[in-house]
Symmetry: C2
Subunit: 458 residues, 2 copies
């Protein structure tokens, strides 16, 4: 295949778009460990989960057998509004780096929610609507998930209650207004509107909140009204299932041109983007059809893969949720206050945790000043100002491309560009003014988090 | 053609993209009046214009003979990074409005600059680079042009000095940071860095600036260093020429499906988007090949088409620029302070002014509360949070679709969606809080602006 024949952007036609999600758990030899009831330490039943989640989403959450699940027509119709997302050949970045590597990125920021989160938000809103619910509750950190869910709920005329981590609520008032424009109500978390919020505020006066804390509040708010269920933008199996559309499209586009990536890189907070991007490729690897080098990139300030423990833990600060087995820093862990952007969750998807533990992928942590350097470099040549989260993947893609420059290797690198940084200009301003700092938690700090892990027999 | 065969988004393949810009002036029976030297009142010569603009751009500015001008390969290469822009069938909006009208929009916000301005920015930066200049100066109002130009200059490694209307500089600090991330310097205008800025500050202490004033400063800054030239994001013939890529792509995409729009709607400030969108269609209309109904939409608070005079006027507040014949409110006109977003220029493209004066298009003014209502309605169903400027066109498209609902007419409506509203959340917040107000200038207020028009014999 001649280099010149590969366009800047590889689009798929409507008929080439995936009509089923891919469920990587069906192919996994060691299945992800089940969620446990925190009271009984027994696996959560569908009935128990159904008090928190929509019924159909419970089925998806528990399904580790079926490799393909039909995407309902209503969701396909919505996907058509902003998908396929472009798969871009980063010719300009390659030229700037003078690397022989071939760099591709799957750009998920080309919808107004500004990120990949919409892929799962629309699915979860659809199932809530289908079940006849009044609305949904959720948490949001950097705001991408809340924005996406607000948009999805507006489309299906569902009520949407968002608990927004207080530090983001204050640093990102415009994110709040986007959600309100789409008709959502937004409450800074911890708040006094829930019992768990009141308890956390009493225990930690002046706290700027955490995702784990906002999850507790959103779950309580859903549990207290039968017309509502709770929805989550990452971590869960169902979310990775919906996000598989990213990887399926990327693979279809690459296949059209006979391109095989050597390395696939994604940022990882709870794992929604990474899990979605890699899943069909991971399926091939598990089935022994083809080998790929997967890299999860996380902030050095919130290093759940690279420095966390693989153990059962609480998913939320208030400890009202089921226990999940995952790489975790402990549900009390909160990244230092200089940490910008998302990727601040204490845990990680159970599915990705199992894959990582099985040695099927690598994880790296990067510091945020280096991440913003990569973001700026990328923006100036590729014309997209990336979200800080996405820039973690850019950092490693650039590092790898520079290694290829040294060695002369013509590696094909694919990374996930999850979204745009329009709402992260406070962080960019700090970087532009040379005021950005890094922070790596000490071992002693991490030990404090681990001390809070629940005692669960294997 | 079956309705179902028309996809949500009509993309063009790379080979279907325009390789030439279309110069509507070549087909115009009455040519736009030339720019005049304010001292001699004689048409500006290429040599005179060359002290302000790049040489090649001067040639384009003066060319009213050649209908097609080749797009240089370097610009085509850059266009490929974000073009073709999607032409979207607004199925969801149609359904929400229950209209038999068929609504299409050409979405120019799918690049990080967030608007159509990049189409001309990259061209102007390219010609500046080709001429061996150090950099360019410009003004920006709402910030879309400055953002686009910063990105373009970064791509070609050119210095970029932006004078940003002070009210926007203060209301939109994040726009400033985007420009800085792309490497530009940003100065609030009026500033003390130029003589004209000092003079305006002395005459109008406490002024929050205007585009006309920022233009004066940018022109002075360019004139005082031979390594710099001034570039402008709207109004000029050269800008409409570059922006014709919007209309050419839209027409090519519609032609693919045999779709003929009855009505083409665009917002109009200086005319860059409207002129670009309509130009190839207008060419057909002028040549008598097909009739279209064109509608320019402007804010009721800055009504240059609907209430202005067609006369020679200064292009800038400081009166350092050539005179242009255009629909104008007078170079001293500044929209009331409750006016949000762009579309705040006192004048209008000479080309569009002539077309309007020749009766080839209609103009309407709309009030901003109604504009934000349309923006919200559009966002909730189409999933794109529009720039306030773009929402002017949405307002009229919705009005027309609702008329079709009354009459049963199946009109095909095309409108230009120039960009996203990510940086306009202060205005959205006002709207969300019910605090948005309207303002229509009185006749007496407009008379004050007209009193400042220069006396030029026809």
């Amino acid at each position: 295949m001649n280099k010149k024949e590969i366009p800047y952007k590889i689009y798929l036609e409507e008929k080439e778009m995936p009509s089923k999600w891919y469920n990587v758990r069906a192919d996994m030899k060691t299945k992800p460990a089940p969620l446990l009831n925190p009271a009984t330490l027994q696996p959560m039943t569908a009935k128990e989960l159904g008090t928190v989640f929509c019924d159909e989403l419970v089925r998806q959450e528990l399904d580790d057998v079926n490799p393909y699940i039909d995407i309902p027509q209503e969701i396909l119709d919505f996907y058509k509004m902003y998908r396929p997302s472009p798969l871009v050949r980063a010719y300009c970045l390659e030229k700037k780096l003078q690397t022989p590597a071939k760099i591709y990125y799957k750009f998920e920021g080309n919808n107004t929610s500004g990120s990949h989160k919409l892929n799962s938000a629309i699915a979860q809103a659809y199932y809530a609507k289908k079940q006849g619910l009044k609305g949904v509750t959720t948490e949001t950190g950097a705001g991408q998930w809340g924005t996406a869910l607000s948009m999805a709920c507006s489309y299906f005329d569902l009520d949407c209650k968002v608990f927004m981590v207080k530090v983001s609520y204050e640093q990102k008032p415009f994110r709040r207004e986007v959600m309100r424009t789409y008709g959502a109500s937004v409450t800074p978390s911890p708040s006094t509107t829930t019992q768990v919020g009141q308890r956390i505020l009493a225990e930690h006066p002046g706290t700027t909140g955490s995702l784990g804390c906002a999850i507790s509040e959103a779950v309580e708010a859903a549990a207290s009204d039968d017309g509502y269920r709770y929805v989550l933008g990452s971590v869960l199996n169902q979310v990775l299932l919906h996000q598989s559309v990213i990887g399926l499209e990327a693979k279809a586009a690459l296949d059209k041109y006979g391109i095989i990536p050597d390395m696939i890189i994604g940022c990882a907070g709870g794992g929604s983007n990474l899990g979605g991007l890699i899943s069909p490729f991971m399926g091939e690897k598990i089935r022994g059809e083809r080998d790929y080098h997967f890299v999860a990139v996380e902030p050095a300030s919130c290093p759940s893969f690279t420095r966390g423990r693989f153990a059962y833990d609480f998913c939320d600060t208030g400890r009202v949720c089921p226990l999940a087995k995952m790489y975790t820093l402990g549900s009390g862990f909160i990244p230092s206050s200089n940490h910008a952007g998302g990727l601040r969750y204490h845990g990680m998807s159970s599915t990705l945790s199992q894959l990582y533990d099985d040695g099927l992928m690598e994880a790296r942590s990067v510091e945020q000043t280096a991440v913003f350097e990569a973001a700026e470099q990328f923006a100036r040549v590729e014309g997209i100002l990336p979200a800080p989260e996405s820039a973690h993947a850019i950092r490693v893609a650039i590092d790898e491309a520079l290694k290829c420059k040294e060695t002369g290797e013509e590696k094909t690198i694919l990374f996930g560009l999850t979204g745009t940084g329009y709402f992260d200009m406070v962080a960019y301003e700090k970087y532009n003014n040379g005021e950005m700092t890094d922070y790596i938690p000490t071992d002693a700090e991490l030990e404090k988090g681990f001390a809070g892990l629940p005692k669960v027999e294997k």
